[in-house]
């Protein structure tokens, strides 16, 4: 218990230092913008992304044949997280006409290739499972 209190105390000091840095170096408008970003991340995850996933899993559970479900979940983890990660490059909001070396790939094609590979892997995984199930 003493160790835990000590670790917790260290955490409070470190976090408190961060809060001091955050609050002491910028004006009100900047802090407000940071607060909006802090809150929106949580709201978007907890009340948009997570419920959407629940819905998707509920629908998928009915639509996807049993042998394909486990591979489909793996595929969803890989493709879903990669898609969230790729939002800035896929939307290309940072593109600048004066800098052709920035965001200079075709990210949509890249995403489609990844999605195609994932679908292929899920299909192969599902077929293998189905064959195993038929054999037993």
């Amino acid at each position: 218990m003493r160790t835990r209190l000590l670790i917790g105390g260290v955490g409070l000091v470190v976090g408190g230092f961060g809060a001091y840095l955050l609050l002491s170096r910028q004006d009100h408008d900047q802090l407000f913008s940071a607060a909006v970003w802090l809150a929106s991340g949580v709201v978007l995850h907890d009340f948009v992304l997570a419920p959407l996933l629940l819905l998707l899993l509920a629908l998928g559970g009915r639509a996807v044949p049993a042998a394909f479900r486990a591979p489909a979940v793996v595929g969803l983890v890989v493709l879903g997280t990669a898609t969230v990660l790729a939002i800035p490059v896929l939307t290309g909001m940072g593109v600048r006409s004066d800098n052709p070396s920035l965001l200079n790939r075709n990210y949509t094609v890249g995403w489609l290739v990844l999605a195609g590979l994932v679908v292929l892997a899920v299909a192969v995984g599902g077929l293998v499972r189905r064959r195993k199930q038929l054999r037993t």
Binding site: T3, R4, L5, I7, G8, G11, L12, V14, G15, F17, G18, A19, L21, L22, R25, Q26, D29, Q30, L31, F32, S33, A34, W37, L38, G41, V42, H45, D46, A50, L53, A66, R69, A70, V73, V74, V77, V78, G80, T81, A82, V84, L85, A86, P88, V89, M93, G94, R96, D98, N99, P100, S101, L102, L103, N104, R105, Y107, G110, W111, L114
Partner: protein, 389 residues
């Protein structure tokens, strides 16, 4: 008319999958903690490297040091995205846990939840702001560097508090089998299509994909497969650009025949044209540009050794040098080159890149290139070097 009955709001008992367990959360959390830890330490290095005042001189060797630390910073941050998403999924039912009875328990749980709220909010903030920043997308009013830096301390602080609170469960979960049910919620009993091991493997694969899809930004042999890298590695003279000459507003001044480099030390000023600089002894150095945005690439730079220019105004060894760009606005039109960088023989006022005169986007007529420095400090379109006393 019978009253409309609303369905009961979800509670943690509504979630029945046994994948949402401390056993999975502790394992993914461990990987997440390591990645956040590496991103924090490499972030501190990058922050220090950009400080004007460096009580402990930032090393100039190895020349690729910053390239590695900043590459790791962005790569581990990227790896955190799938890890954090899976981690949050496994603990999502906790959000709907009913508050306990009794004032003391209520207070303790309230505090714990507050600390987790801070942790989740700041962790998402760091990943989201970092991911946007590497594509030079700034959809906010705050200043990126101080905010990302302050928030890093908040993430790590609340993470340490979280570890302290959960330590017995973490220890128990990590030392027993992943299918052990000791720490499971009573309702989490439903076997789904995927095992816990299966979910963990899927998470590691997703993390690997995230890294491979972006690391080509800084690891040359991954360029072809890094489908989500913000820079393909191509650019003028085979080198990407972060700030273009147009963005810096230097297109006419940089190409003007009136361009001169001023070297100032106290009352002594030496003025040189680009031709005169080309007439001095030239050196060629292979040094990386390692941008704070995470991309990096090697270039072969030819120009005048910086120290040779400072000898023209009798600058003493160890002097810091204040570098001014033709760029008229923006935080990076100035940089301070600390004495140890000034005196390093590899530090060059580059006039050529990869055998050609510098492209204007790379800093024509002249730019600073020093070993082991953040790219933002490798000032382009240099017009003045002032020796600081």
């Amino acid at each position: 008319m019978s009253p409309v009955k609303l369905p009961a709001p979800p509670s943690d008992a509504s979630f029945s999958s046994r994948l949402r367990s401390a056993a999975v959360a502790a394992r993914v959390g461990m990987a997440l903690g390591i990645c956040f830890g590496i991103a924090f330490l490499t972030g501190l290095i990058s922050h220090y490297a950009q400080n004007v005042s460096q009580p402990i001189p930032f090393p100039t060797s190895p020349s690729w040091g910053y390239r590695v630390t900043q590459g790791l910073h962005v790569t581990t941050g990227t790896a955190c995205v799938p890890l954090l998403l899976v981690k949050l999924w496994t603990v999502y039912p906790k959000l709907f846990q009913r508050p306990p009875k009794g004032a003391r328990k209520l207070l303790l749980e309230g505090l714990e939840r507050a600390s987790i709220g801070v942790l989740v909010a700041s962790a998402i903030f760091q990943l989201a702001s970092g991911l946007a920043n590497v594509t030079e997308w700034y959809p906010w009013d705050f200043s990126f560097r101080p905010t990302h830096y302050a928030m890093a301390w908040i993430v790590i602080g609340s993470l340490v508090v979280h570890i302290a609170v959960k330590l017995p469960i973490i220890r128990g979960a990590l030392t027993s089998d992943v299918d052990d049910t000791t720490y499971d919620r009573p309702s989490a009993t439903k076997r789904g299509d995927l095992s816990r091991r299966g979910l963990l493997r899927a998470t590691w694969v997703a993390t690997g994909v995230a890294v491979l899809a972006t690391a080509g930004n800084t690891v040359p042999f991954l360029r072809k497969i890094s489908i989500f890298a913000p820079h393909s590695g191509e650019g003028p003279q085979d080198l990407p650009v972060t700030k273009s000459a147009v963005a810096a507003g230097v297109t006419s001044t940089a190409l003007s025949a009136a361009y001169r480099l001023e070297i100032v030390h106290g009352d002594t000023t030496v003025t040189m044209s680009r031709e005169q600089l080309l007439g001095m002894e030239q050196q060629t150095e292979t040094l990386p540009i390692a941008c704070v945005e995470g991309w990096s690439a090697n270039g072969e730079w030819t120009g005048v050794r910086l120290r040779a220019l400072l000898d023209l105004v009798d600058a003493p060894a160890g002097s810091d040098v204040f570098v001014t760009s033709l760029q008229e606005k923006g935080a990076f039109r100035h940089s301070t080159l600390q004495g140890n960088f000034v005196d390093d023989d590899r530090t060059t006022l580059a006039l050529m890149l990869n055998g050609e005169p510098l492209a204007i986007d790379h800093g024509y007529p002249a730019r600073i290139i020093a070993p082991d420095r953040p790219g933002v400090l490798q000032t382009k379109w240099v017009t003045k070097l002032e020796v600081l006393s």
